[in-house]
Symmetry: C2
Subunit: 111 residues, 2 copies
DNA sequence: TTGTTACGTAACCGCAAGGTTACAAAGTTT
DNA sequence: AAACTTTGTAACCTTGCGGTTACGTAACAA
């Protein structure tokens, strides 16, 4: 299928703070404030990171009272994962093919 | 082990042009000019992309005459790959553990 | 209704990313 | 030596990112 280039999620993950945030909300829902408390930067900064993660569909939010709870979206993450899996494999496949060709050449030489 | 956060390579791969370049030189060495010819931007722009890839250790260069040949570094790419593998699994592991706990709870209910 | 809690948003700043054009450098060719 | 090829680098511009402070807003509590 090959989808299109997943720039948004990749860019989102390129920031270490966002990778850390994503881990935090991977297995449990957390309110924005609790998340921010884990980091040395101000709350608004984290708020924007959360926005980026949300825009990249790596995270979803729902409100409860005055709080906003965030949690990871494993399906979307899996999508990115398999894109990358594909990306590596496409390249490594080439290399494997070359190696095989090389092996065949050698077999012919030795034979 | 866990290495440190591989910001450089991740940031390098976050750009679609650089992902394309990396694919180009994955299975064959190519001179900078040939690489640039594949893209709509100017040659200096590509030159800088190549620099970024090289700084991230995803690509290596060697000179031959006036040309500079570039090729991918599969070992380093594999390093990044396994970091990500680890990253996903750390998260998904949590989920699996939750699922098991849940299953156990249900078993106890039903029992 | 007034205050308090838990947020996002706006405006601003410093800085780096990615693009361009112009130029320098190093190796070949004649 | 002179000219041409192939490439990186410098200087510059615009745009976007991540950070801050100040402010707006929605829900709850008194």
């Amino acid at each position: 299928m090959m989808k299109h280039e997943p720039d948004e999620p990749l860019l989102a993950l390129a920031d270490p703070t966002r990778r850390a945030i994503l881990r935090l909300v991977w297995d449990e829902e957390l309110p924005a404030g609790d998340i921010a408390a884990h980091f040395p930067v101000t709350r608004p900064a984290i708020s924007r990171h959360l926005r980026v993660l949300r825009d990249a569909n790596l995270v979803e939010e729902h409100r409860v009272g005055t709080k906003r709870l965030y949690r990871a979206r494993p399906e979307r993450i899996e999508e990115l994962r398999s894109y990358l899996e594909n990306y590596w494999e496409a390249g490594l496949g080439e290399i494997k093919r070359l190696a095989e060709r090389e092996a065949m050449r050698k077999r012919n030489e030795d034979g």
